[in-house]
Amino acid sequence: MGEAADNSAFPEPDPGRWLQDYGDVLYRYALQRLRDSAHAEDLVQETLLAAFQARASYSGRSSEKTWLIGILKHKVVDFIRTQVRESTVDDISALSDKGVEHDIDDLFDARGFWVRPPRDWGNPDAALHNDEFLAAFEACLARLKPALAQVFALKELVGQSSEEICRELGISTTNCGVMLYRARMGLRRCLDVQWPGGNSKGTK
């Protein structure tokens, strides 16, 4: 008889339906953090496979979507971590060395004053609700050096603490801070040019 196969009162979860219902949401979550569609697709597949294998552990306490995003988030962190690790050691040490930072140096004159002072971006709430701003933000993130974009993504898009990131990457807190600094400076420099919204209202 089929007693072994029929021991659950719950319907068998259907990964095909998960794909249909949450595939796009998962994909966008991964894409925003990895900025590579092939890798994002792979992680969606891995997430659904892992969810299928672990379906017994789904308690129903959180929504299916939250549960699936939670699995994906771990996969994204693992993936970015591996990517950063695979950047050459020279790359990481060059990007985290406070001594050599040409991308920063040419923003300032010899006395450390701004060569081109940052613009006023106006009301922050307005920018956050402005599609143009968010599109420019994504475009600028895509232009950062990969290792910098990855560290920035772990900190600000995935929400890891800098201690966690430094530990996992095996670099010092100081070097980690330098990488985040360069990522932020690169982003704001790019947005200062790319985002037209700040231009129109140059409040002093």
Partner: protein, 90 residues
């Protein structure tokens, strides 16, 4: 007096860790006097706020062109899932 360059690093640090009192005072003093660095500080904070926006929306909306799984990717993933389900029931 700290330079604008020093201040930009300090502002970035303030987003990652709690600054020491001396650092906070130096930062505050400089920002009071320097319009350019006030703009820079606002910009960096906005970068963090924008990122948080993505954390919260959890992929609900994207402002880049690619919004959805392609048909091919979707079919490929479905085939792989069905294979896993078959292996499970075998």
């Amino acid at each position: 007096m700290r330079s604008c360059k020093d201040i930009s690093f300090l502002v970035s640090q303030s987003l990652d860790r709690k600054l020491a009192l001396r650092e906070r005072l130096g930062l505050h003093l400089h920002l009071m006097m320097c319009n350019a660095c006030r703009c820079m500080a606002d910009q960096m904070k906005l970068l963090q706020a924008a990122s948080l926006h993505y954390q919260i929306t959890e992929g609900l909306e994207s402002h880049s062109a690619q919004q959805a799984l392609s048909r091919e990717a979707s079919d490929r993933i479905l085939a792989r899932l069905q294979q896993a389900a078959r292996e499970r029931s075998d």
